[in-house]
């Protein structure tokens, strides 16, 4: 099965700083991969490279069959990025925000209202200004913007941060639903226990490089059986 993500010795810069100094990563369709590592290891940068927002300067990078950085525009159409700082406009209501970004991504009106309901913002929260929402509710709004896009590759940067338990279950449910519909997920998180329970595989990032770790890749490559705790590296 042709991997959704195929990175070999990928290097990417943040300004002049080589945030990614050499990444090897393969992700297969339908997988949920967790990026683990200390702050500043380059998790956020890696997600933005996968989204086609940061051009890799060395090494190989192919996402959803598109070669980066040349076909970045094509990649951007098919991914959804939930960044640490959401793309929400404080003065507008949750509904305004999701509608704007939904239409900006050519989503249908039905998808937009469905997304709002799915994240629990359909009711009275719909018309409250984002500035008055809690962080948890804001992330739901950002999540709704992502849902409306129907992305094939979900890129989530610290999705669990600031969510109450109810919202976390909601997120996990949505992830599994998307994966069943053929989507693939790459997320970074600090809540390791919860995230690991959710993900099929964990890739550790240290100082911008993926580390060589114990579990042989072949075992996890083929079978789709989600391995709950195994820490493995993909060759």
């Amino acid at each position: 099965m042709e991997p959704v993500v195929h990175l070999r010795a990928t290097v990417a810069l943040l300004g002049r700083f080589p945030a990614l100094a050499g990444i090897d990563l393969d992700v297969v369709r339908g997988e949920i991969v967790l990026l683990r590592g200390p702050n500043g290891a380059g998790k956020t940068t890696l997600l933005r490279v996968l989204a086609g927002l940061i051009p890799p300067v060395r090494g190989e990078a192919v996402v959803l069959g598109h070669r980066l950085p040349d076909e970045a525009r094509a990649v951007r159409r098919r991914v959804g990025l939930l960044g640490a700082d959401g793309a929400l406009f404080e003065d507008l209501t949750a509904a305004d925000n999701v509608t704007f970004w939904g239409r900006a991504c050519r989503a249908g009106e039905a998808d937009i209202t469905a997304a709002l309901d799915l994240v629990g913002l359909g009711g009275r929260l719909r018309d409250i200004r984002v500035s008055k929402l809690s962080t948890g509710q804001r992330r739901r709004a950002s999540l709704a913007c992502l849902l409306a896009r129907r992305p094939e590759l979900w890129l989530l940067d610290e999705p669990h941060a600031g969510l109450d338990n109810e919202a976390r279950d909601l997120l996990d449910g949505l992830l599994h639903q998307a994966v069943d519909q053929g989507a693939t997920v790459v997320l970074s998180s600090h809540e390791l226990d919860r995230a690991e329970a959710l993900s099929d595989r964990v890739v550790t990032l240290v100082a911008g490089t993926t580390t060589r770790s114990s579990v042989p890749p072949s075992e996890s490559e083929g079978s789709r059986t989600p391995e709950r705790t195994g820490v493995s590296h993909v060759a």
């Binding site: 810069l13 300004g15 100094a21 050499g22 100082a207 911008g208 490089t209």
Partner: protein, 265 residues
């Protein structure tokens, strides 16, 4: 514009290829620049001779006319500098090769030097001739606005840290430089012609004989100086790009070493 006898149109090729690249000497000098440098010095000497000694004083404004031999050529090379920057920015946007970005930076900075000279000599010329340092005449005013544009452009270049984002933004600003200059000149020219026609041209002495020769030498001398400065400034810009790239390799090696150390721990 009088035909300048300046060697090698710098605008066309980013840099006259001179000397071998392997084992190039330290600094930005080379056989080519030494020749241009010597020619420049010789022509400056000739300019001093003609401008200050041989050419007669003007019937109307006496010796103040000698300022023109420096003021008019420097104004011309200011525009050449802006033209180089806009051309290089356009080519960078099209071809995205780093050489054009370096040339755009060189054009703007050398252009700014000539802008300051033009303003300085212009106002010094105004004082004896019309009694004030700053006559709102068309050429001087548009040079002042153009100087502000160049200062803004160079400020943008110095500020932005991320190399490729900086080149993209500087290229867009650089591309707009000449259109801005044309519009500013047109509007200022119109504006001033409402009140009195441009003071500079009206009393431009009908120059001929030694005066004309002095002006021509002025063009030659400042042309050589312009080319010399452009070549050196271009190489400095190129070197700073290389230094950035090398810093990147070192930072990359450090980053990997840091990773190894952490894994080993």
């Amino acid at each position: 514009m009088t035909a300048t006898t300046q060697p090698g149109a710098v605008a066309g090729t980013p840099q006259p290829r001179s000397g071998d690249t392997a084992g190039a000497p330290a600094g930005t000098g080379s056989r080519g620049t030494r020749i241009v440098g010597l020619l420049a010095l010789a022509s400056i000497a000739l300019l001093v001779l003609y401008g200050l000694v041989i050419s007669p004083a003007d019937v109307e404004m006496d010796d103040a006319v000698r300022l023109m031999y420096v003021h008019v050529p420097s104004a011309t090379y200011l525009y050449v500098g802006c033209f180089v920057t806009t051309l290089a920015s356009g080519l960078w946007l099209w071809k995205r090769t780093a050489g054009w970005d370096a040339l755009a930076e060189a054009g703007a900075e050398v252009g700014l030097v000539f802008a300051v000279i033009t303003l300085g000599t212009g106002s010094l010329w105004g004082r004896p001739t019309w009694g004030t340092y700053w006559t709102w005449d068309a050429r001087l005013t548009s040079t002042a606005v153009l100087t502000a544009l160049l200062v803004g452009y160079l400020a943008l270049r110095r500020l932005d840290l991320d190399p490729d984002a900086r080149s993209a933004r500087a290229a867009v600003l650089g591309l707009l430089l000449v259109p801005n200059v044309v519009i500013v000149n047109r509007s200022v020219e119109w504006w001033r012609s409402l009140h009195q026609d441009s003071t500079l041209t009206r009393i431009d002495p009908t120059i001929e004989g030694d005066m004309l020769v002095a002006l021509m030498v002025g063009f030659l001398a400042l042309g050589l100086v312009f080319s010399w400065l452009m070549i050196h400034r271009f190489r400095v810009a190129w070197l700073s790009q290389q230094v950035d790239r090398i810093d990147l390799d070192e930072a990359l090696a450090e980053r990997r070493a840091e990773a190894e150390a952490e894994v080993a721990r």
